[in-house]
Structures are given as C-alpha cells and as structure tokens.
C-alpha cells in the first residue's frame, strides 16, 4: 500500500478541457476523505478481506488532514466499567433533549466504541491513566488524551491498508443506474481529473464548517479562526445530495460554547477542570437551568446559556478559571496544546493568565456535523445511504449524535463491514464517458473562462453566502434565531447564487478547488434552510431556534426532518420520518 505524494502545484494550467488529463483508478472500496472515520474504514476493510483494494481520495495530505489536523485533547465517549452501551445511548438521548435520535445507529455504535478507542491506544495514542493503571475520566464519559499526534497515528495505519491519493478533492459521485460506483475529483496540485471506480464507496468527508459567517471573520488575516476545520466545507453532503441521497436532521446544527475571539474548546475547562460558567455579575449561569440539569444540562442548553446572558444584558460571560491550582492550570494548557495549540498563543497574545483572569466564552458559528449533532445522510444499520453503494461514516452519517472521535472511529468500522457485505459478487460496470466528461467540464469551467472574463471570485460568493446564512438562517449575529420569512429570503438568494455558478472564475488550481467548494457550500446551505423551515417548532434552542414557533411541538415534530433533492430537476422536498424509542427509560434524563 502507499501514500502517494502530491507534487508541487503545476504552473502549467490547461487552456481547454482537452488539455486536462483524466486518470482512471479502479478499486474495490473507495473512501472519500481520509480523516478520523475514513482511516478506520481502511483498516477494517483490509481486515475483512486482505485482497480488497482500498483507495482513499484525500483532499489534503493524510498525515495532517481534516478536523483532527491540529490534534485532540479528549475522547468524549468511552464506556467505563459498570456502564453499558444502553447507558451511553440514554446519555446521548438526554444530551439532545430526549431526541428524536436514531437509537438503532447509536446502539450499534456504542457496542463498537471501546474497541475502536483501544485500537488508538495500541497504535500509540497516549491515553491518560490513574496511578493504579485505570483510565482517567475527566467527566462521566470522556477521557483525556495527549492527542497531538492523533491524526498521524490514524493515518499511518490507513496508509498500511490503502492507496492514498493525496490532494484530490472530491466533486461528484460516479453513478450507474441509480447506484454509486465511485467518485470523481480534482487534482488540486497536478491539475488532473480523477475518476475512481469502486464496487462500494464510503463518504467520510467530515462536516460542513464555513456555511455561516464567523463573528471573528475580519477582512484581513482572520477569516478562518473557527472551531470546526474550515477545510471541511460539506462537499460530501453536496455530492450525495445532488444524486438524490436523503439528508436527515440538518436543522440540528452544532453550535457550542467556545472560547471567545479565538474559537477553542470549552469542555476542556468547564468539564475537565470544573470551572463554572459565570456572567458579568459573577453569577453562576447554569444555576438558572437547575430544572434542566444545571451543569449537566443538555448540550444545546449549555451552548445557548451564555448567549442568553448577553441578550439579557448580563454579558460578557466567562469560564471562571481563577484560583485554579497552578499544576492544574499547566495541565489545562497542555490539553489546549493538544487540541487547539494556537489558543495558548492567543492567551499569551492577550497577556492573560487564566489563574488570575477568567477565560471569556461565547457561542460558535453553526456547523453541520453528524458526529456531534445529527445532521447527515440518512443511513441504514450497515451505514448505507439511500443511494445504493454509497455509505457514510463519521460526521457525514446523520441521526446519531455525540459520536466524537471514538464514535467516528467505531462507525468507520461499521461502514467498512456494510460495504464489504454489499460488494460481494459485484462487478464494476463499464465507464460512462459522457458522465465523466460532463463532470470534468463542470469542475474545470471556472478555470477555463479566460483571464478577461468578468466574473465572480470563489471568495466573493463564499462571503455572500456566509453573511446570508448568518443573518437570515440563524447565525451567531442573530443569536441563532430565525423565522419563516427570513428562511424564505435565504432560499431566494441561494437560488440566485446557484444561478450564478456560471460566473465563478478561478486563476489557479487552488482557486479552482475553492470554486468547487463554494458551489458545494451553497448546495448544502440550501438543504440546511429547507430543514430549518420544515421544523416549525423550537426543539433545541440555539441549535435550532424558530422565533415564530418558540415552543416544542411533540404532536407534530417528535420525528426526523428529512430532505431529498431530485437529481434531474434539482428540486428539494422536505418530509418527516418517525422516531422509534428502542432503549427504555425516561428520554429526558440519564
């Protein structure tokens, strides 16, 4: 197996489509995205069948790609002795306000979870342990790691089991009579067009950041200091959605309380180091939410609580780290260095010692992340989407929140098993040249419009979309609130943007990648707005707040909201699917 290096960006740009070389690669299993989930798909697939040819299409370079590129400080779920997978599902359910959630998926994931985390430790990931050798828990379910090397540790195993094509950005699925038979992508360094033919395809491209404007985005050097990896833009969702794969629960956006002005994790301090959330008056904010669990309230309550303080005139809000023992503060800074090292630099740039001054917190911009909340493809137990042959794992698979690192790893294994069973006896169909040529023309068009073409830069369109989503579809500037009319406004302008894809222009391959990413963002944003429109209630304030329907409506909306885009017409329809409780017990507590 091999980690195929990317060359330096070519200076020779094509003058026409005829100049663009097409590379066709055949394999058994294609993995789009070699991140947390994708690496585990590769390892498991090879374990199931050593003769299986596994290929990873990777947009960056696999050793430092995706959401775990900077590292990680915790595994948020690992089932402790005395607890069961059912207990974990009950906790996950309570964290999302009683659901709905896909308990079938959650249970199967929970049963696989610890083994996947144990794999990481066997591969060299330092998991912090107590003096007696037992794993050190920092909260009820989460354990601390020194995960600065998490991504290379996973990637090295993936490389042992797959051929990794680095710097190839996925743009579309390859289809054969309604079935996914691989995917296509842009070589962002070599300028080639890649066609991967596969018997089964797992989409593990991560979630969608950068759909919404971040409040820290300025016009100069700070456009991407967001919490979610800004290079995960939702391309996986877009590829499937355009081919008719059903999306689930995108309205349950991931919004989290994060450190203010430089989006770093807050659970590190509030859970890991028991620092309470306080407002400008020094009052403990979560005391207001005692009836909902106080400090252990569901995640969306905790995420929205500091924003409510601001709205009520009681901001700024902080995590009160003052008086923390120096050795604890040192350990906390090491945690940050493992997950978001530049946050330590940020504190130093503010001249701030957390032992003396509390750390300011605020809400993040909203993300679509099926590994954290529930937005992603509707999948069956084998992790197959509604498009046969297309599987999803990690952030791309919906309905099953609170997966995080361990759960995404576990789901990678489950998707590999699903794909393995699906492809037995399958043959690759012949290559549909017309489909390949059409996609190649679509992908390269922004580069081929000529240098004098009076068009639109990918960044301009991205920023237009981000402001639209922020102001009309419940971004942080609006404290996450929206209504029917704002969402209709957003849809009108999203349709305008889609009608202007033909004006996008790129001056090099990097910008060509950005042009394609921006088209993906717009298509995913359209789905998000349809989801927000269809849920006419407020179930998870902050994650999903409808000012025109401020109450939870169990009669009509204790169910999943789904969307599907007609591949022929592009028309998006929203509908619902019922929730099924499988794990007994009160839904709202755990």
């Amino acid at each position: 197996m091999a980690n195929i290096p990317a060359p330096r960006a070519t200076r020779k740009l094509p003058a026409s489509l005829a100049d663009v070389e097409t590379v066709v690669v055949d394999c058994d299993l294609l993995i789009i995205g070699g991140g947390n989930a994708g690496c585990f798909v590769a390892v498991e697939a090879k374990k199931l069948d050593p003769d299986c040819k596994v290929v990873i299409m990777e947009k960056a370079e696999i050793m430092r790609s995706g959401a775990t590129a900077a590292g990680m400080d915790a595994i948020n779920t690992y089932i402790p002795p005395g607890k069961t997978p059912e207990d974990l599902v009950r906790w996950s359910r309570a964290q999302v306000g009683g659901g709905p959630l896909r308990e079938d998926l959650a249970l199967s994931n929970a049963r696989e979870l610890n083994e996947a985390v144990d794999d990481l430790e066997r591969w060299g990931l330092p998991i912090l342990r107590n003096p007696d050798g037992s794993i050190k828990y920092r909260g009820k379910w989460d354990i601390s790691i020194h995960g600065e090397q998490l991504k290379p540790i996973m990637a090295e195993k993936a490389v042992e089991n797959a051929e990794v094509y680095n710097r190839v950005a996925g743009t579309a699925l390859l289809m054969d009579q309604g079935r996914c038979v691989g995917a296509m992508g842009l070589g962002v360094r070599d300028g080639k067009f890649y066609v991967f033919r596969a018997k089964a395809t797992v989409c593990s491209t991560g979630g969608a950041g950068t759909l919404y404007k971040s409040y820290t985005a300025d016009s100069t050097d700070c456009g991407s200091q967001i919490w979610m990896c800004p290079y995960c833009v939702g391309s996986g969702y877009a590829m499937g959605f355009r081919q008719g794969a059903e999306l689930s629960s995108l309205e349950q956006r991931w919004v989290a309380t994060r450190t203010k002005d430089f989006c770093g994790p807050v659970d590190t301090i509030s859970v890991g180091y028991k620092a309470p959330i306080i407002n400008c008056k020094g009052e403990k904010v979560m005391a207001r939410y005692q009836h909902l669990g106080g400090d252990a309230a569901p995640r969306f309550i905790r995420a929205n609580a500091p924003m409510e303080e601001w709205l009520q005139g009681r901001g700024p809000t902080y995590c009160d780290t003052r008086g923390m023992a120096p050795e604890l503060a040192h350990a906390m800074m090491c945690d940050y260095l493992n997950e978001r090292p530049s946050f330590v630099l940020f504190l130093a740039s503010r001249g701030q010692d957390p032992v003396k001054q509390p750390i300011e917190i605020f809400g993040s911009d909203p993300y679509i992340m099926g590994g954290h909340t529930m937005g992603g493809f509707w999948v069956d137990l084998a992790r197959m989407t509604t498009v046969p042959g297309l599987f999803a794992a990690g952030e791309t698979a919906g309905g099953n929140p609170n997966k995080f690192v361990g759960g995404c790893a576990a789901e990678g294994k489950l998707a590999a098993r699903g794909a393995h069973a699906y492809m037995s006896g399958l043959e690759l169909p012949g290559l549909d040249q017309a489909q390949v040529e059409a996609e190649k023309a679509r992908v390269f068009a922004p580069l081929l419009r000529g240098k004098d073409f009076d068009g639109v830069r990918p960044r301009e369109m991205k920023e237009r979309l981000q402001r639209l989503m922020d102001e009309y579809a419940g971004g942080s500037s609006q404290f996450y609130r929206t209504n029917e009319e704002r969402l209709d406004y957003a849809l009108t302008h999203i349709a305008m943007l889609q009608s202007q894809f033909g004006f996008l222009k790129a001056s090099d391959l990097h910008e060509l990648m950005q042009a394609n990413e921006t088209m993906d963002r717009v298509d995913v944003a359209e789905a998000v707005v349809h989801h927000l429109k269809a849920r006419r209630e407020t179930r998870w304030a902050g994650w999903q707040t409808r000012m025109d329907y401020p109450e939870r409506d169990d009669t009509n909306f204790d169910c999943f909201v789904e969307t599907r885009r007609d591949p022929a017409t592009g028309e998006v329809t929203a509908f619902t699917r019922p929730y099924e409780q499988l794990v007994p017990g009160d839904r709202y507590t755990a």
């Binding site: 330096r8 066997r122 820290t216 990896c229 090292p341 530049s342 504190l347 130093a348």
Partner: protein, 108 residues
C-alpha cells in the same frame, strides 16, 4: 498574519518535490516561490492556525502569529518535535516564558 515565514531560515526544502509545509497544510495554503526558493502562505485569510506547518518545518522557519485583530503584539509559541514527545515554548506579550513538555506517542 498566520503563518509568518522567517526567510533567513527557510530554504524552500531544497531538493524535495514538495516542501514540508506545503505537504502538511490541510488547507493547501503553503507553497514555495521557486524563483526565491522560499515558502509563502498563499492566503493568510484562510489559515486555521492549526500549526501543522509550524510543526512540520525542520528549520523552525515558520512562526504562527495570532492576527492582531484577535490578539496583541506580540507573543510566540514554538513547538519542538521530538520522536515521541513534544516541547512547547510560549512567550506572552509581557515576556513571560512557559515551557510545556510531554509524551505524544506511546511505545508500540
């Protein structure tokens, strides 16, 4: 202005098909100016400040700097990569230096 290249230290990873920083960047933002033989960031606006390039540079020629709009002038954070451990040296705007050192890989 993340990341800053110290051009006195950077040699563009002479002889390599791809420099270490352009290999590492998850956003495809690092490149080498072939004429000058030095690395540069093609768009600081798109930088996540993940420090992958800073860690990857064998000549410590890359510094991650917090944009001024977010943090004041000037603090530094320097990763020193060992085989199975990492050392970080952080200097805040008042000149206070703190060192952090720990294992980042287990023996396997």
């Amino acid at each position: 202005m993340p990341p800053r290249i110290h051009t006195d230290k950077c040699n563009g990873c002479e002889g390599r098909a791809e420099s270490f920083c352009e290999e590492a960047c998850p956003g495809d933002l690092m490149a080498v100016d072939v004429a000058a033989g030095k690395a540069y960031c093609r768009s600081t606006l798109d930088c996540w400040d993940c420090m992958s390039c800073t860690k990857a540079c064998p000549r410590a020629a890359i510094e991650t700097r917090i944009p001024y709009q977010l943090g004041y002038h000037k603090a530094t954070l320097r990763p020193i990569m060992g085989k199975k451990q990492i050392t970080w040296k952080c200097v805040d705007i008042h000149g206070n230096e703190t060192t952090y050192k720990y294992r980042n890989r287990l023996d396997t």
